[in-house]
Symmetry: C2
Subunit: 349 residues, 2 copies
DNA sequence: ATTAGCACTCATCTATTGAGAGTGCTAACG
DNA sequence: CGTTAGCACTCTCAATAGATGAGTGCTAAT
């Protein structure tokens, strides 16, 4: 995980200066010099002193100099310290909260649209790239299972799960099944499985069901293989992206090569799942900074993520990707708030 | 539409030269001069003569000069001529065709995966951005309609249509309906609607059904509103993108501002539907060049598109977006071939 | 320990220059 | 009269040089 160190090499004044440099750089995107710090932040010390402290901070690895004798910018380690030690999440304003709530209320009901819109909200408010992983199919609980015969050899399996997901799957039969049998199997499965999660089902129950269904002998095999087929893909666990282009506005992405490297990673679903996989289950947020990322394309970026829950069960995650120079205090608070909203809206549906 | 002119201002030799310039520029991305044409193409005329012809071609608007005294590059009008008059589609090689077929066969069955994969194939083979519009819900024919009661107040409408689509929709009822009534309505709708397209249904039948169903009096209203609700969105008509990043490798997109403008357009579903809307219904391909596009972000781009059919009915479209300097002969042939494959695979399912 | 002062460094900007590619024009040629 | 050779001209691109300015590191004074 992130290099959790003691940061014992930093005293109170260094801390102030590091914060000033970081804040300044976050808002200007320009290397910051000792003079401007002395001017804008009333630390009661002269540029020269600040210079000395900055030299120490650089040696300790918290700051970097793009070139000799330009101002300093925070290193990944500097941001890590900023986030771990100094971060004071900037609670969204009352009016912003209301605006977010209103957006959510508009999209209530259609779960897919809600998720998609969540990504849009995040992207718009942060002006960065937003990701939302749709509720985990594995973790959703079964409400209904229905089998609809389409023709002699094909069956439509309809699976309705808790957070409002409807998952359908066409299954090819190896031989015909009578309508009566289908009714019976359907009824049995429905009664037996209601309220279980997909994960439970896959982990333990498939065998059990197979033996229970063996009364129907020849059908048992058919029915189970059918179930397995129906559950076999990852289901509707999709990843929603919004505002990836927003990043092209950022001064750190004026170089097409960097942009390309970044977008290549962003476009790959698997990598994005992975990137959000470290998200903590609780109501906290996770921040991954720069080179802590696995993929080189994300080295110039940080990811702020949080998970959301449906009725207390972790279901998916949301995240913001932006340059390491991002407004952590605002974004961390926003991601946290939006994840809470999403949990709430998904739970009450 | 494309400026269909007579191109009477071009004689045979000018044609040869225009083709040479265009071919050369397509493969090198550098403005091409009279000398290199004289060297590489054995036209039996000297650079000076070529210069004169090129000057004429420029005056007539087929060529452009990025700056005085650099080589010429084709203008949009030049490409238009090239595409309309001189294009000889470069039939994909036998081995390439086989490779494409193999890719299709692998993904058979799952319609969504097939569509998605089609985009991937196109993007990979052309190294440009590929779009595929999934089969039009409006044009698909109804195979089954089923109503499944979820609880007292909610009904799941399951609609299975011809090219293997399953569309579901949860409908909130304003009051309860008995199981018997649901059965009856379901049965009635199923018998009545099978084989119709959604478009037919929406256009003419809703009223008719309403009156027929009026035997069930109070239910009529309920049932129709339910149908209308179920059909109300555009359905699963989605747009699949692949390889948008490919374009960042092209020399014409080394400027981040251009890239941003382009990606902003590409990301917007509505605009992409619009961009593919001119696609001709038959088995031909449509080429939209540069400034013929509606949106400024696409001015540096051309779009090659073709529609595909399911059992003879136009269902969707596929397209390639790349810089105006693209290998039209290869790409036009490829798009045509892939659209034919897709039609075939979707029709036999 | 802090600060003022000063020399030094380095990126950025602007001009200048030279090279190279390619054109347009003119005059000669068949 | 169409074609071609020759030549001056234009314009981009890359390299160079000087000026500018922000910011540092160091030293000596407070």
């Amino acid at each position: 995980m992130s290099s959790q160190r003691d940061f014992h090499d930093i005293d109170e004044r260094k801390k102030l200066i590091l914060r000033a440099v970081t804040d300044e750089y976050i808002s200007t995107a320009e290397p910051v010099g000792s003079r401007s710090i002395a001017r804008r932040y009333n630390l009661g010390i002269s540029p020269a002193t600040i210079r000395n402290e900055m030299a120490d901070l650089e040696e300790a690895g918290y700051l970097e100099q793009p070139h000799t004798s330009s101002g300093r910018i925070p290193s990944d380690k500097g941001y890590r310290f900023y986030v771990d030690v100094m971060l004071e999440p900037k609670e969204p304003s009352r009016s912003l909260k209301q605006r977010i709530l209103r957006e959510f209320i508009q999209r209530q009901g259609e779960i897919e649209a809600l998720i998609q819109h969540t990504a849009k909200i995040l992207a718009t408010l942060t002006n960065q790239a937003a990701l939302v992983i749709s509720p985990s199919f594995q973790e959703s609980t079964i409400q209904h299972i229905r089998l609809l015969p389409l023709d002699e050899m094909r069956l439509l399996v309809v699976l309705v799960t808790d957070p409002g997901f409807v998952n359908t799957r066409i299954v090819e039969l190896s031989r015909g099944i009578s309508g009566g049998d289908i009714e019976r199997i359907s009824g049995y499965l429905n009664g037996r499985l209601k309220g279980l999660t997909i994960r439970d089902l896959r982990a333990t129950l498939v065998n059990e069901i197979q033996s229970e269904l063996s009364r129907y002998r020849s059908l048992a095999e058919e029915a189970t293989s059918l179930l397995v087929q129906a559950l076999d893909d990852t289901g509707p666990e999709r990843i929603y992206r919004e505002g990836t282009v927003n990043m092209l506005g950022q001064p750190e992405f004026q170089d097409v090569k960097k942009v390309k490297g970044l977008l290549e990673v962003l476009e790959e679903d698997g990598l994005m799942f992975e990137a959000l996989s470290g998200t903590p289950p609780g109501r906290g947020t996770e921040v991954v900074i720069g080179h802590e990322n696995r993929h080189a394309g994300l080295y110039p970026c940080s990811i702020v993520s949080a998970s959301y829950e449906i009725k207390g069960r972790v279901s998916g995650a949301i995240g913001i990707i932006g340059p390491t120079r991002m407004d952590y205090s605002r974004i961390v608070a926003l991601v946290k708030y939006v994840s809470e909203c999403l949990s709430e809206f998904l739970s009450e549906a």
